[in-house]
Every structure is written in C-alpha cells, then in structure tokens.
C-alpha cells in the first residue's frame, strides 16, 4: 500500500482536569467560564487519537494531518499537535463556527475532509472533554459514507486494512475494517507522547492552513450556531449540599478504626 494518509480531529477545550470549583456558569451568555489562569488544552481523547496516528506513522510511515474546528484557537495549544509529530495543521476557524453542536461540527469537518481529498484513516477522540457528546467521529463517518469503529484501544494498519482492538463490556474484540474508515479512540490507548525540542522548533516555523466556511463552500446557515440541530436552552450548576464528616484519630490507622465505629454507630453498616 502506498503512504497512509491520516486525518486526526482535535478540539481545543478548557482544561477538563481543572478543579471542579473552577468551573462557573455565565447564565446570561449560556456558557461555562474558567479563571484566566486555567489554559485551554487539546481534548484528552483527541490526544489519544493523535497518539494512535503517530504510532501508525512510526511503524508504517504516512502523513498525519490535524484538523481542528473552532474560533480564536490558541496557536501554542493547537500547534502541540505538530510539535509531537503531526505533519500538517488545518484549522476551520471563523466567528461563524462558534457554538457549533455535534451536527454542525461533524458537517463542517466532513466537508473539510472531502476538500483535503485523500484520506485512509480518520481518527477522533471518543468524546470531547467539554460537551461530552461522543457523536462527531461517528457522525463524520455517516456523512462521508465510510465505516466507523468506536472505542479503539489499539489501531494498526495491515495490507490496506485497519486492525483495531475495540473495548467491549468485560473485555475487547479485535476487528478488521477496510479503508477509508473512521476510528474513535479511548483512553486505554495511552497518553500522547511528549514533544521533543526539534519538533517544537519545526512546529514554530509551520503555518497552519486556515479555512473559513466559504472556503468549504458552506454558507453561514450551515455552520456554527445557525447549523445546529439541537438548541441549548439553559446551562446551570446543580446545587450540592454534601457535607463531609472527617473522622479523626491520633494516627491514620486509628482514624481508620474510628471510621468503622462511626459507620456502625450511624447504622450505615
């Protein structure tokens, strides 16, 4: 088989590992806000998807194009994808892409993938780290009419096919699918590698390709908020009234024994 062309979809998101107390809802704007010291990141599962692509490239060669949709994407954040070994960066970046839902995101990404033209494997994270919808990868596959395999923990290419270990309840299954195909990746695949200095320097020199809706032949009614199929009516934070009773003791072990006594006394056990 000739060179494998891979496209990895990566989304810039607020750091999902920020402490829960950092997340606030701006009810007027219907959006989630975080303090400015918490920097955006590439979504966790998108990083796993990128790692899957890089492992294929390590073994069999090929080209990794990273595709990201959003607005005001922070170059230092998204360029990490180049620094770790991605070959090209294509950004769908415009005000009109703001407030996309799964439908309008997948629609624009699928259109961009068609414009890129050559692709064997499209890799996506199993779900975004902000809206947690888990639809875009499978949605792209439906729109392009190619097969999809979800929840991959290992992806390899062999004789023009993808061989995938897919997580299933109580284990995993090995599946085989012809190319092109979409594969969504889960956390067991393993963390994204660190960037090395040479990669960081190369990434600094590379300029991403930026496409606006018109470059994709889309009009503003098909993208972002206007292209949504679902309407966000309200965002809120559920009130928590949990109060934790800390059981103490002279030592950690004594505290442990005291916890047993306390649970017994409270008739929990």
């Amino acid at each position: 088989m000739s060179e494998i062309n891979m496209i990895v979809c990566c989304k810039q998101v607020p750091d999902p590992e920020a402490p829960p107390s950092a997340f606030k809802v701006d009810t007027a704007a219907n959006s989630v806000t975080l303090p400015p010291d918490i920097k955006p990141v590439i979504g966790q599962y998108d990083e796993f998807a990128l790692e899957a692509a890089l492992r294929i490239k390590d073994k069999a060669g090929g080209k990794v194009t990273v595709l990201s949709l959003g607005n005001k994407l922070v170059r230092d954040v998204i360029k990490k994808a180049l620094a770790v070994g991605g070959d090209e960066l294509v950004l769908l970046e415009d005000d009109a892409f703001e407030q996309s839902d799964s439908w309008s995101t997948a629609y624009a990404l699928a259109t961009a993938i068609e414009k890129i033209g050559t692709y064997d494997l499209i890799l996506c994270g199993r779900q975004s780290s902000d809206w947690d919808a888990g639809q875009v990868g499978t949605g792209i596959a439906q729109l392009l009419g190619v097969p999809a395999v979800t929840l991959a923990r290992k992806v390899e290419i062999d004789s023009g096919k993808a061989i995938i270990e897919q997580v299933i309840p109580d284990g995993y299954q090995v599946v085989e699918v012809g190319l092109p195909a979409v594969v969504t990746v889960t956390s067991e695949l393993g963390n994204l590698r660190y960037a090395v200095l040479r990669g960081i320097m190369a990434a600094a020199k590379k300029q991403p390709t930026v496409w606006k809706p018109s470059d994709l032949g889309l009009d503003s009614s098909q993208v972002g908020a206007a292209g949504r199929h679902t309407k966000l009516v309200r965002l809120f934070q559920p009130v928590k009234e949990a109060k934790c009773e800390i059981v103490e003791g002279d030592s950690a072990a004594e505290a442990g024994a005291n916890l047993a006594l306390r649970l017994r006394q409270a008739k929990i056990l």
Binding site: Q135, R153, G171, H229, K231, R234, I246, A253
Partner: protein, 333 residues
C-alpha cells in the same frame, strides 16, 4: 408527511432478557408517553428475542416490535442501524430513547446523522414541555461540572439515557400490549466491520453494577497489587466488589471493566468507598448515585471530600487495614 407521534425505545437484550437499562428506559418512556397521551413502543432486535417482548410489556410498553434475524447475532452497529432506521420511519415516533450503553453510544449517533436530526447523549433528566410538547433533554457537560438543557425541533428527537438515572416500573405481567413480529431486510453487504476475535477479561466475584458495596481505588494506589489485597480485603468484609477510577485501568493495573465514571461503568451501591481518588467530576459522574460515599485520601483539600459523607485524611496503606480489621470485629460481634 405523517405526523410524528409516540415514544419509541430501542431496547437491548442480555441473554434473551431485557437489559436493566432497557427497563429503566421503559419506566421513563412510559411517563413521557403518558404526559403526551401517546403510545410507548419498544423495538427489540436480536438473533433471538426470547421472552424479552413479554417482559417489555410488563415493564410498560404498549407495543413491541420483535425483530429476529441471524444478521443481528454479533450485535454489529451497521446491522442495528438499519433496523432502527426502518422502525423510525415505520413507527414515526416523536421521541426515540436509547441507553447510554456501549451499544447505544455507538448506534445513536449513526441513527441521528442518518435521519438528519439532533441527538443528546447521556441524559439524566427528561421532561415534556407542556406548551411546545418538545422533549427537554438535560445532560451533564464539562465532565459533570455543569448541566445543559437541550431541545430539538427536528423529528424524531433522539436521546440516550444514562444508566441508573431513571427508575423502572414494577414489572406487571397482567399489563396488556401487542407483540408484533417484524421483518427488516438487513443488507449484510454494508456491514463493513469484521469481528476477528473476542477476548474476555474475567472479573471474578460480585458484578460491579450489582454490588451492594464498592471499594474503588485511584491513581494514588500506585500499582496493581493493592487492588488484590488491601482493597479486596475491605470489599470482602462489605460483601462488595473492587472498582477503580480511570488511571488504574489505563495503566493496566486493573481490567477496563472495573473503570467507573463518565466513560466507564455507572454504579449506585449502598456504600462507595473511594480510596486515593481525587474526585474529578468525570469520576463522580459514575458513582454519584451511591447512597453513602466514604473517602480516604491523604490530601485534605482533595475534591472527593466535597462529595463524600464520611472521610478520613491519611495514607490508605495505614487507614484501610485498620478500617477492615475493626469492621471485621464489629460485623462479627
């Protein structure tokens, strides 16, 4: 164009019986259908549906479409989506409910994109807006750090529902309903994924989802061994099971089947003991339905202490053996 009416559930079977999430969907679907004064139907598609159709009626369905086809044996999404699409056009429901299960997560987006409608996954609350009759779809977002309410005015409105978020009805064998054996021509040439082999990772003892007590370990456990010793010994005293947050599963310390949370299993035991887990929202998403949560963590500022009812601040290596020993004495005496 026909008017979209009623609620349709795409159910799941486990060894010829309704899965527990399907009974939960039926409970929720019944309530929505009653509010709309419309019917609740349920599609059950498998190589053999067994006694599940009757069960679905006992749990609240008015009508069950039973689709038996050997092409469904391997539960391939490319096959199920054909059944779901056909039934969606035949029954033209207003609402389609599926489980936020491995099958539902895979199937629902395929169906929604084919039908060119919207989808909200992982809903925990569903209601009918009395004025618009639209489904109000509430789901946790940002890992559970916020909740979002969505609507969709394209029909059918499709949602997947989180396990254990809805209550099933009491099964009532005297409830009446129709079972309609249905044939769908499944085109096997579009099943493009071939299953080469299945590898089961055995988890011994009490099943996590059914366990009355769970002792769950996090990254702070440090390796695979304590899951089999320190944590297991406490779980045994509680007649429960051992679980984990995501890092132990990602690191291969425990099988993936033990991973609890947004992207793992959803559990709701009477007692959940979280050990060396920081309490990220994505983890809490999988265990917030527990009756009593108990936390052991060496960091007094860990978020888990904002979720638990009882806590001990300390190293688990010291706290747990003493807790287990004392409980053993108390429960024996």
């Amino acid at each position: 164009m026909t008017e979209n009416k009623g609620v349709l559930i795409y159910g799941e079977l486990v060894s010829g019986r309704l899965s527990s999430t399907t009974t939960e969907l039926l409970g929720c679907g019944r309530r929505l259908a009653d509010q709309l004064k419309e019917d609740l139907c349920c599609v059950l598609a498998s190589d053999a549906v067994g006694e599940a159709p009757g069960q679905a009626i006992a749990f609240g369905a008015d009508r069950v479409y039973a689709v038996e086809d050997s092409a469904l044996k391997e539960d391939q999404a490319d096959a199920h989506v054909q059944v779901a699409e056909k039934m969606a056009s035949e029954a033209s429901p207003r609402i389609i409910l599926m489980g936020q299960t491995p099958t539902g997560r895979d199937l629902a987006p395929r169906l929604a994109f084919r039908l060119k409608t919207g989808l909200s996954t992982d809903c925990i609350d569903l209601a009918i807006d009395p004025e618009t009759k639209l489904l109000q779809q509430t789901k946790p977002v940002y890992g559970g750090n916020a909740h979002a309410l969505f609507t969709c005015d394209i029909m059918p409105q499709i949602v997947t529902v989180r396990a254990k978020a809805m209550t099933p009805l009491e099964g009532d064998d005297s409830r009446e309903g129709d079972v309609i054996p249905t044939t769908v021509d499944i085109d096997t040439s579009v099943i493009r994924v071939r299953i080469v082999e299945k590898i089961k990772e055995e988890v011994t003892g009490v099943k996590l989802e059914d366990a009355p007590a769970i002792v769950s370990g996090g990254r702070g456990i440090g390796g695979p061994e304590p899951f089999k010793t320190t944590l297991k010994e406490l779980a045994d005293v509680l007649h429960g099971a051992v679980g984990a947050s995501r890092p132990p599963a990602d690191n291969g310390w425990v099988p993936e089947a033990m991973h609890i949370g947004l992207t793992g299993k959803i559990v709701a035991p009477d007692i959940y003991v979280s050990v060396a887990i920081s309490g990220a929202s994505q983890h809490i998403a999988g265990c917030s339905g527990s009756k009593t949560m108990i936390a052991v963590n060496k960091d007094p500022d860990a978020n888990i202490f904002r979720e638990a009812s009882f806590g001990v601040v300390g190293r688990y290596e010291e706290v747990l053996p003493a807790l287990t020993k004392k409980l053993n004495e108390l429960l024996a005496g």
